[in-house]
């Protein structure tokens, strides 16, 4: 009896280990690509995301503990451009994992094929934190979510070609979901087309373009430069002149400066979700837009 139990336990362990070995281990730089990888990879993937959803993706500390995850990963998904330039390359080098280095089958740049906005014609840091390839916050347009999903599916198919049909089926479902949801999101936002708003940091251009908002100014005088008193005076004037109702910001920025503007003008500060996991209710990529659109429409009504 005992021997039987031990044998069963051993068999179960072996099976569990085999099934884990068959699972594709994916490390993503952010929670949004984690969510999309899970939606495409389904039960074939085990995904770990480095940045949390309430963290500024520009400033992630390259902790050595992430190297452990990267060293055993089969696939690495980066948002690319220069968004993670401050931390992703050093982690990749330290991982000693050939499967996920740039150019390897397991390296996925989610930005490939995305039509970028705000591509600078010249690079001048006097303009603040300028991104040389264009604004990197492209996942905030759900249409771009489909391109990200395509890139991730292609990566998964390179790593695990035997599951191609499975990934393609999930990709199709994802695209259908996005298409039908975009209709609903756009309809919800349609009454507010052209509505003027203020944003804290220049990270909403894709969302703004997709859903027809009009960001007239930023709390930061230049990208990456904290709000100055003269900028606050300018914002207060703009809010009053344009009858602006909301300032949108992200969980990782202090609201101290927008609170000052609120006191002076009555404008509302909305802390929006810039990524999956920004708030407990934002569990996946669809929730991200559900949450933000609900916030904005409720505030603008």
């Amino acid at each position: 009896m005992k021997i039987k139990n031990i044998a069963l336990l051993l068999a179960a362990t072996v099976i569990a280990n085999l099934s884990y070995a068959a699972t594709i281990r994916v490390v993503t730089t952010t929670q949004d690509t984690r969510s999309i990888t899970e939606l495409i990879g389904g039960n074939k993937v085990d995904v770990f995301a480095i940045a949390t959803g309430y963290q500024n993706p520009h400033f992630v500390d390259p902790k050595p503990s992430y190297i452990i995850k990267l060293s055993s990963a089969d696939m690495y998904v980066t948002l690319g451009l220069d968004l993670e330039a401050g931390w992703s390359p050093s982690l990749l080098t330290s991982s000693r994992n050939t499967k996920i280095q740039r150019g390897s089958d397991g390296y996925v740049d989610a930005s490939v094929g995305v039509a970028l906005l705000q591509v600078p014609s010249s690079i001048n840091r006097a303009e603040g934190d300028i991104h040389i390839f264009g604004n990197p916050h492209y996942w905030l347009d759900p249409e771009n979510g489909k391109i990200i999903a395509r890139n991730i599916a292609t990566g998964l198919e390179r790593v695990s070609p035997e599951n191609k049909a499975y990934f393609e089926a999930n990709l199709k479902t994802f695209n259908e979901q996005i298409d039908s949801r975009i209709k609903a999101w756009s309809a919800a936002m349609a009454p507010f087309k052209g509505t003027k708003i203020i944003a804290y940091h220049n990270e909403w251009v894709y969302f703004e373009t997709r859903f027809g908002l009009h960001i007239v100014d930023f709390m930061e005088p230049k990208p990456g430069i904290p709000p100055t008193p003269s900028q606050l005076v300018k914002i207060i004037k703009e809010v009053k002149e344009n009858n602006i109702k909301i300032i949108i910001t992200s969980p990782y920025f202090s609201t101290a400066s927008s609170d000052v503007v609120s006191k002076q003008t009555g404008v509302k500060t909305l802390t929006m979700a810039t990524s999956v996991g920004a708030f407990d209710s934002v569990k996946n990529y669809y929730d991200l837009f559900d949450y933000d659109i609900k916030m904005i429409t409720a505030a603008l009504k």
Binding site: T52, Y54, Q55, N56, F59, D61, P62, K63, P64, S65, I67, I68, S71, L81, A85, G86, W87, P89, S90, T93, S94, R96, T98, Q101, R102, G103, S104, V112, G113, V114, A115, L116, L117, V119, R125, G128, D129, I132, F133, G134, D141, E143, I182, K183, S186, A187, M189, A190, K193, Y206, T209, R210, F211, G212, G224, I225, P226, P251, Y252, S254
Partner: protein, 392 residues
């Protein structure tokens, strides 16, 4: 015949145009009730078209060159002894070139030009120039070239990235202002420990001849180093790191010196507001066992303990206590306390001021034979180009 055709054509065109216009008017009148929904559709159609996107291929061009940057380190210095006790120097201009070589390796070069405050003349050297493999099996990585060695915590960090201006006394007395560096090989192994990060490094080098302790040997006596780095996440916001280092090599007396080092760092940095708040408690202990002339053995030690905290969005404060023997005299004791206030304009520019008080139990010629003295430093760091990330 021709005129007839032309007239017919004109009549036909006029009729079609009139009919189209009247249709438009009628349609507009009939569909007036549906105008809102048409407008809605138009808005939706407009919104589904992204605004003047850039061609995706435009981004490939910028990545052909290595990442190049220049870091300026301008300093103002004051000390409470000597006739000439103020100085202003471009302490260092560091030129870095970093890139992946091929699928198997990457290269990092740092060329440093330093100014001698006495003469105002500059001298340049390859501070570091090494290759790092990317494709070795079994979690191994090899480094070859000239590099800063895996000793403790601060030795691997370039001075401009440290939160204080002058280096700790024990570090200067044992290894020199530039720290421990040499030419050779470094092999590191990421231990297969899923619970926490462990990295074991072995290095064999011909040491930098500027080292005050070790000698670049005339014989085949290289410097050997072993370093074990251990790192835990205590929580999402706090981490702890322990490191052990052992070094052995030929000292300036032509005999052997052994160094044992221990480093301990606690960091707290809230993930959500990591650009606003942080706290670090960092310590390094060094123990030296030196065989001198006539096999006379001297055991000496030294350490520093530092607290570093962010006091504002762009303001930082670091306090440090130093204790140090000389590696060849444990009767010599040097102690100091320092406070550094830093202001970071952006990731590419910071200004720091440091005040330091030093006391020694024996006079030293290099400090004008003063046993107690004060010093103050101003440092302005400025970076152009794409300087990469620093080690955590």
């Amino acid at each position: 015949m021709n005129i007839k055709h032309i007239l017919l054509f004109i009549l036909l065109f006029a009729a079609v145009t009139v009919q189209a216009q009247s249709k438009k008017q009628t349609k507009a009148q009939i569909d007036s009730a549906k105008a809102d929904s048409i407008m809605l559709q138009k808005i939706q159609a407009e919104m589904s078209q992204p605004e003047t996107p850039a061609a995706p291929q435009a981004r490939a061009a910028a990545s052909a060159n290595p990442d190049i940057s220049v870091i300026g380190d301008f300093r103002g210095l004051y000390r409470s002894y000597g006739k000439h006790n103020f100085d202003a120097v471009l302490n260092e201009a560091e030129f870095s070139f970093q890139s992946v070589i091929d699928p198997y390796a990457r290269a990092d070069f740092f060329y440093s030009v330093e100014e001698d405050p006495k003469t105002g003349k500059f001298s340049g050297e390859v501070e570091e120039g090494y290759l790092t493999t990317l494709a070795l099996p079994y979690n191994l990585q090899l480094k070859a070239g000239r590099f800063k060695q895996s000793l403790g915590r601060i030795n691997l960090v370039h001075p401009h990235a440290l939160p204080f201006i002058d280096m700790p006394d024990v570090y200067v007395n044992f290894f020199g202002e530039e720290g421990l560096k040499g030419d050779g090989f470094s092999a590191s192994w990421l231990l297969p420990n899923p619970a926490f990060f462990q990295e074991l490094t072995f290095e064999a080098t011909a040491v930098d001849p500027e080292s005050p302790l070790f000698e670049r040997s005339d014989a085949n006596n290289f410097l050997y180093l072993a370093h074990l780095r251990n790192f835990w996440d205590l929580s999402a916001n706090s981490t702890i790191e322990f490191g052990f280092t052992g070094v052995t090599g030929e000292n300036i007396f032509g005999n052997r010196s052994n160094i044992g080092a221990l480093d301990f760092t606690y960091k707290w940095k809230p993930v959500q507001f990591n650009t606003y708040k942080q706290f670090t408690f960092q310590n390094e202990f060094y123990y030296s066992h030196a065989h001198q002339v006539g096999n006379n053995i001297v055991n000496a030690l030294g350490f520093y303990s530092m607290i570093y905290t962010q006091v504002g969005k762009r303001t930082f404060l670091a306090g440090r206590y130093d204790y140090s023997n000389s590696p060849f005299s444990n009767t010599f004791v040097q102690q100091s306390g320092s406070l550094t206030l830093g202001w970071e304009a952006t990731e590419f520019q910071k200004i720091e001021i440091e005040a330091k008080y030093t006391t020694m139990n024996q006079p030293m010629a290099q400090y004008n034979n003063e046993q107690n003295f004060s010093s103050a430093f101003l440092r302005w760091i400025f970076v152009i180009g794409s300087h990469g990330a620093h080690r955590y």
